[in-house]
Symmetry: C2
Subunit: 336 residues, 2 copies
């Protein structure tokens, strides 16, 4: 009899739930909208319904190892509570582990979404070959997660991975966090959008001005399309994003020399556009990365790669949580 | 019968060797000049003589757990060789572990000097309360070491801890490593010396000009004395160093949220001068550090502290190596 776990990836927009076996095969997944506006109780009810549905269906053929839940916020892992979550209004202080364990009768393991994504890529994505990695997610903001010795790294307050707020330009653009020159101000979808709007407003790009007419939000994807057609302003925006990423990566690599750094999130789809500037800066700024370039044959270099699992990384990482945290110790069948 | 280990701290200037018991008590230490100029064989002969002397003397009353050796360079830990060492000319490629084990008949554990210092502070210094810490050493250069889960963290190529080459000013002063704006260009003794000479040359400081007449090298200590007397240029130099440290620490804390960061090395004696600017920058730039300031009562904040062991940290950390790497498994008596 095989074993499986259920992963839950709750974001501000999407609620994804999947039954995944211990070999990494997704048995079945349920994708819904989070509908956070309906209130926490309603979201939790739909979430637990879906978990029970998958659990009952696959418990005939597999042992359930537990339920892993990825949440977009700062988690107090000892207490099992959601300390704060900007995109889940009304959820701060929610005793998620106790409530879900009571409702499900199964072991529940909580983790923040960025660490789930890092763990997913480590298990089934770009980081399969290594036990230690860092993942940077370029989305609306810039998030980060670490896997150390095969497990999520939390830091003393559960706040490790605030990579979007690393300083890359010491006297740079002001950031909502109170700092200025944060990575997030140059390499997030929001930053790309801000730079693209400025280029359109200032008449520096016909392509971006046209794109804005059709896509008033000027998504990173629209900017990417302009860059692909050779638009100089759009190309420069990705150069800025890539250079900022290169500075942050150079600092991380000089400090921790992990074997792998993975770039994910929506903006990472423009890898072809930003990665040349990123690698240029990295090569210039990181003595450790350069040493690795010379050692590539010995497979001991630090590598920087695009993510592979796209928007499934967090879900698969969440499913992995019960497997690594408690292994076979916390097999349970769900309460009726 | 108690247990002990022998630590060796070989630097470009000093060779320190000590017998240390497993409770951290130094039984006896031998301090010599390295006299690197006499060639590797001569240095190794003196080193092994001193280790044998201490070993014989204390093996009557204690079990020897092994010999830990701190070396100032990049170590290939698998091969047990010194990959490269800028301050030990002629030592690159030296198969230190095999050679020393053959000569001593005891288990030898190698480690780079920055990690030894971090481990020493973790064992007996400022980091006793935690299993995870980062140490930044402000000397001629700026070095760094990490202890993770109680053990030195090496990174995939053994090059973790190059904290002196983290970018703190994106378009700053050029550094010998190829980057510009490295921490080392603002917070090392060399940088303080450079800034002090410039202030003296440009007539911006009577105190520094006078100090230079007596101490042509204008050591960080002389600059510190000027700052203590209220000299504005000297005070500003430590503000620059502190702000640079604050940026680097903010990045490290945002990334890893370790419980403790320790500042050591000769320049750290001027803690009173540079730490206010360091904490100011840290508070402004690190969302994680600020969250910790609010949580201080729960003992879960990230702390930044001065080192306690001064120039004994590396030696004590070296002695600790055999204890944590092999525990009681590698007890040996030395060959005759």
């Amino acid at each position: 009899m095989g074993a499986f776990a259920i992963g839950v990836d709750l974001g501000g927009t999407n609620l994804r739930i999947a039954a995944v076996d211990d070999q990494g095969k997704t048995l079945e997944s349920v994708d819904e909208l989070s509908e956070i506006g309906h209130g926490r109780e309603a979201v939790v009810a739909r979430l637990t319904d879906a978990v029970r549905f998958l659990s009952r269906k696959y418990s005939h053929s597999h042992n359930l190892m537990g339920v892993g839940v990825g949440l977009p916020g700062i988690i107090d892992l000892e207490a099992g509570t959601l300390h704060s979550a900007a995109n889940l209004p009304g959820w701060s202080g929610y005793a998620a582990r106790e409530d879900l364990e009571n409702k499900l009768g199964a072991t529940v393991v909580l983790e923040n979404d960025a660490n789930c994504a890092a763990l997913g890529e480590k298990w089934l994505g770009a980081g399969r070959s290594t036990d230690d990695l860092c993942m940077i997610t370029l989305g609306t903001g810039v998030g980060g997660g670490f896997v150390v010795h095969g497990k999520p790294w939390h830091g003393v307050m559960g706040m490790a991975g605030e990579l979007g707020h690393m300083t890359v330009v010491s006297e740079g653009t002001a950031c909502g966090c109170g700092n200025h020159g944060c990575l997030e101000q140059y390499a997030s979808a929001t930053a790309i959008n801000r730079m693209a709007k400025a280029a359109a407003d200032e008449g520096r790009s016909v392509c971006l001005a046209k794109a804005r007419a059709q896509d008033p939000g000027l998504s990173a994807q629209s900017v990417h399309v302009c860059a692909l057609t050779g638009d100089a302003a759009a190309i420069e925006i990705f150069n800025v994003a890539g250079a900022a990423l290169g500075i942050a990566l150079a600092n991380l690599i000089n400090a921790f020399n992990l074997p792998m750094y993975i770039i994910g999130g929506g903006v990472a789809k423009a890898w072809d556009q930003f990665s040349p500037a990123m690698f240029r800066e990295l090569h210039e700024r990181s003595i450790v990365f350069r040493a690795g370039e010379q050692e590539k044959r010995s497979h001991r270099a630090t590598e920087v790669r695009p993510a592979l699992l796209q928007d499934r990384a967090g879900l698969l990482g969440a499913a992995r949580l019960p497997m690594i945290v408690c292994g076979t110790k916390c097999q349970h069948s769900l309460a009726g």
